[in-house]
């Protein structure tokens, strides 16, 4: 077989996966960010703080645990870029936007839950990340990441 055709067969599927990953990943990301920013504007007025106790002046009347979580998957294109970074080192910029979105989405979901239940603020907010093991090759690689944001929603009395 013509060596050029053979080369095309070897590289073709890989390039196609890259292209699909890039196109779909970029589209999804853009859509998600615009959605995130809208919802952040809506929930802007609700305080979320990381102090363990609410300020004494708040006079909390009721409290409840609230949480929000997101699971995101890594598209082929981002994964390939991260693999190259694995050789050279440096910031994995392809993962930065992914995790940024996931984190903000998790916090938003937590705030929306708190708002839905009628609370005024969330204190002692914490973030947790866990990696979803992939089912290939001894569980190496990542199928995705889950980000969990949880805290204590409080209602201010008086």
């Amino acid at each position: 077989m013509d060596p050029l055709v053979e080369l095309a067969f070897q590289i073709g599927p890989f390039l196609l996966l890259l292209l699909v990953g890039y196109v779909s990943g970029t589209a999804i990301e853009r859509g998600h960010y615009s959605d995130i920013r809208k919802r952040e504007a809506r929930t802007r007025s609700m305080p979320v703080i990381s102090f363990r106790r609410p300020p004494a002046s708040w006079q909390v009347s009721s409290a409840s645990l609230v949480s929000g979580s997101t699971v995101v998957s890594i598209d082929y294109f981002k994964r390939f870029l991260a693999g190259l970074r694995g050789m050279t080192g440096g910031r994995i910029t392809s993962y930065e936007s992914l995790l940024d979105r996931a984190r903000r989405e998790a916090v938003l979901r937590m705030k929306e839950e708190a708002q839905g239940l009628g609370y005024d603020a969330v204190v002692n907010m914490r973030l947790e990340t866990s990696r979803l093991a992939s089912s290939n090759r001894k569980g190496q690689g990542t199928a995705g990441v889950e980000i969990l944001a949880f805290g204590t929603a409080v209602k201010r009395g008086a």
């Binding site: 013509d2 080369l7 952040e40 802007r44 870029l81 190259l84 930065e96």
Partner: protein
């Protein structure tokens, strides 16, 4: 303390276009791999050139017994021609041996350590002693250039660099393709070197180069070989028209006449 609502500063993401990042990484890694391969190859190459031919013969002579040889009545005549040609190579450190292979396809090759193999098919196909002399001279050229050891050292250096770059894993298609292309370039250079050496031996023996390159027309599958510029580039041997042109240019540069009387083959070559 008052709490103030504020918009997020959005400073957790590096602002770089993903495609630009991809291009930078891919090109950077490709160039680094090529550069590193060349450096390692050059170093190993220098070491290998110093290896004595007697060691080479001792290491590789085991290979020779695996060949399907045949007793051909023409072997003596060809062996004598080979010895005379080797005598034209001043300072030849090899003990050169001839084997005749049992194959109907015209072919010739050099095995590391000093063995030259020609097929029955080749002996049937040659038309003049000049043609045969060029083929034998080309194979001697591989010894003179230490091509076998250099080829091994090159493959080794590429394997080393790839292994280092990918941390021992199978590596991406990209690094594999880059290394293949680099290696093929070296193989083509070896063939060209051997061609030139062979032609020089022929010119010294006969005083002209007439008939020497007739063999190129007899190589199987060359007329319909890989088509297109990329195909010819990716093939191990440079295409025959380019080899012929290269050799004619060399002859002109040295002033070797292109015409002359062809020496007939030894009577032992009469078709059976």
């Amino acid at each position: 303390m008052e709490w103030q609502p504020r918009d997020l500063p959005e400073n957790n993401v590096t602002r770089v276009h993903p495609l630009k990042e991809l291009a930078t990484l891919v090109l950077g890694i490709a160039l680094a791999t090529v550069a590193l391969t060349l450096v390692v190859a050059f170093t190993l190459d220098s070491v290998v050139r110093v290896l004595p031919p007697s060691w080479e013969a001792r290491i590789f002579s085991g290979m020779w017994t695996d060949l399907e040889r045949t007793d051909d009545p023409r072997a003596a005549a060809v062996g004598a021609l080979l010895a005379e040609l080797a005598a034209e190579w001043p300072g030849n450190p090899y003990e050169v041996r001839l084997f005749v292979m049992d194959s109907a396809e015209p072919n010739a090759f050099a095995l590391p350590g000093g063995a030259v193999g020609v097929t029955r098919g080749l002996l049937d196909a040659v038309g003049s002693e000049n043609e045969l002399a060029f083929v034998l001279g080309h194979e001697l050229g591989h010894f003179s250039g230490r091509h076998h050891l250099r080829g091994i050292s090159r493959s080794l250096s590429v394997a080393l660099v790839l292994g280092a770059a990918t941390g021992g894993s199978s590596g991406t298609l990209l690094t594999q393709w880059v290394s293949e292309v680099t290696q093929l370039g070296f193989a083509r250079d070896h063939e060209r070197e051997a061609d030139r050496f062979g032609l020089e031996l022929v010119a010294r023996r006969y005083g002209h180069i007439a008939g020497a390159m007739n063999f190129f027309e007899k190589l199987p599958g060359d007329a319909g070989g890989p088509t297109g510029r990329m195909g010819a580039w990716l093939a191990t041997h440079p295409g025959s028209p380019r080899r012929i042109a290269d050799l004619r240019a060399l002859a002109r540069a040295h002033g070797w006449p292109a015409d002359g009387e062809l020496t007939a083959l030894d009577p032992g070559f009469a078709p059976r």
